[in-house]
């Protein structure tokens, strides 16, 4: 190709001319160069004919359809479908965020089978009634509250709680209380000091053995009453009183004790059953 023509008509311009993508001025430039040089004319014409041959190539018919089947992309499909399902709708997200702990607790308690839940509630109410009745019984047994007992209200609970909560040890407590009162009496009179000694020995037998002295328990026994406060003294009086009221209140105490245990069990079992039934219902 003539170097002069190459300068005036470069490759890009020839390509644009072949594509028909030139301005009037550019077309005139190319055609002028073609007229001036056979080489440029050959270059442009052969390229144009080559492009024409390529464009005349027949289109290729599809041998088959290339649509995808589920098997070909099963893993991706499963992932996308699960993601599409997992995403919760926006309103529900707002509800969850607004839930307080109290609301969740109420929803939890309200769940379960209604009939069994009501039965559990009834058992709970009965349990409460038993507690109230038991309290009333103790009040009637111990008599109406006096000025002393009001003073004791803060100090006396320990022995009283033992009496009510550990119902089975009521008589034992009463016995030991009686023993203590006897010890107090013996301290004053100096008679029958063997009984309180045995009482102490039965509880502090091991200490006595390790000490290796038989005199110490005897000496220790009188020490306890000396240490006892006015509150303990009053509790002793109460226990003595309960001992005297024991024969009439004892059957009721036993009845209340078993009723309490049964009702606690009933509340737990019925509530658990209600939850289980509701779980099965959902499943």
């Amino acid at each position: 190709m003539d170097p002069q023509n190459l300068n005036s008509v470069d490759e890009d311009l020839v390509a644009a001319y072949v594509d028909g993508d030139v301005t009037t001025e550019e077309r005139q430039r190319v055609e002028a160069a073609m007229a001036a040089s056979e080489q440029v004319a050959w270059e442009v014409n052969t390229l144009r004919q080559t492009v024409q041959l390529l464009q005349d190539m027949p289109s290729v018919p599809l041998p088959r359809s290339f649509t995808l089947t589920e098997d070909q992309v099963a893993d991706v499909l499963q992932e996308r479908r699960s993601l599409a399902k997992v995403e919760p709708p926006p309103p529900r997200q707002v509800d969850v965020s607004e839930d307080t702990v109290w609301q969740r607790l109420l929803r939890f308690l309200n769940g379960g089978d209604l009939a069994l839940r009501n039965a559990a509630a009834l058992a709970a109410v009965l349990l409460l009634l038993v507690f109230v009745a038991e309290f009333q019984l103790q009040r009637t047994q111990f008599g109406p509250p006096s000025g002393d007992s009001e003073q004791l209200s803060s100090a006396a609970p320990a022995p009283q709680a033992q009496v009510t909560a550990v119902g089975g040890s009521l008589s034992g407590q009463a016995d030991s209380g009686a023993g203590s009162s006897q010890a107090t009496a013996a301290e004053g009179s100096g008679q029958e000091d063997e009984e309180p000694v045995f009482g102490v020995m039965s509880t502090g037998e091991e200490e006595q053995r390790t000490a290796g002295s038989e005199q110490e328990p005897v000496a220790a026994a009188p020490v306890q009453p000396e240490k006892s406060s006015p509150a303990v003294e009053s509790s002793r009086q109460q226990l003595t009183g309960s001992e005297s009221a024991g024969p009439s209140g004892q059957p009721w105490v036993t009845v209340f004790r078993y009723a309490r245990i049964l009702l606690v069990l009933a509340v737990i079992v019925l509530w658990l059953l209600s939850r289980t039934r509701s779980g099965r219902g959902r499943a």
């Binding site: 890009d12 014409n45 004919q49 464009q55 290729v60 290339f66 995808l68 589920e70 992309v73």
Partner: protein
Amino acid sequence: MDQDNLIERSLQGDLEAFNQLVIEYQGLAYGVAYRLLDDPDSAADALQDSFIKAFRALENYRGGNFKSWLMRIVVNTCYDHLRSRQRKRTESLDDMPVEDEYVTVLTDRSESPQEYAERRELQALIGSAITSLPEVLRTAIVLRDVEGYAYEEIAEITSAAVGTVKSRINRARGRVRDYLSKNAELLPAVYRHSLE
């Protein structure tokens, strides 16, 4: 249906929506694959792989020209098949040129047996000329002169600058012309004289 809607549904696991896109573009894509690979079976395999890849990679589609995005996958998959075929190439009978089935389908009933034979030879010659080109030149000339894509689209598909694309097309046209000139006796008379 709206193309964006089909893509969105495809992303949610709606295969039917994606298959509508496949139906829309499979003709164009098969033409490119066939010209790049010059073999119907290889083209079919490459195209099937391309659509599977496209479905899997749909999360990476960031909008824009979906056709260009899809064709880029098709072209790259064809490159993979070309390289794989070059590695496996042996002197077995399987590699011998086979009859193009589609040519029989497209037979013009009005042409004579002589004309039919010449047309087949011409198409085979042009196919050979394209196949003789390096990958990037082959892609550029197929997309531009055979399939009719715009320069900008080709630049997008091949991830190259428009200037680079133009340059590749010029070089590819020159090489094809030179290839045909060497086999001018197979060209129709109207082309033979000018190319000689």
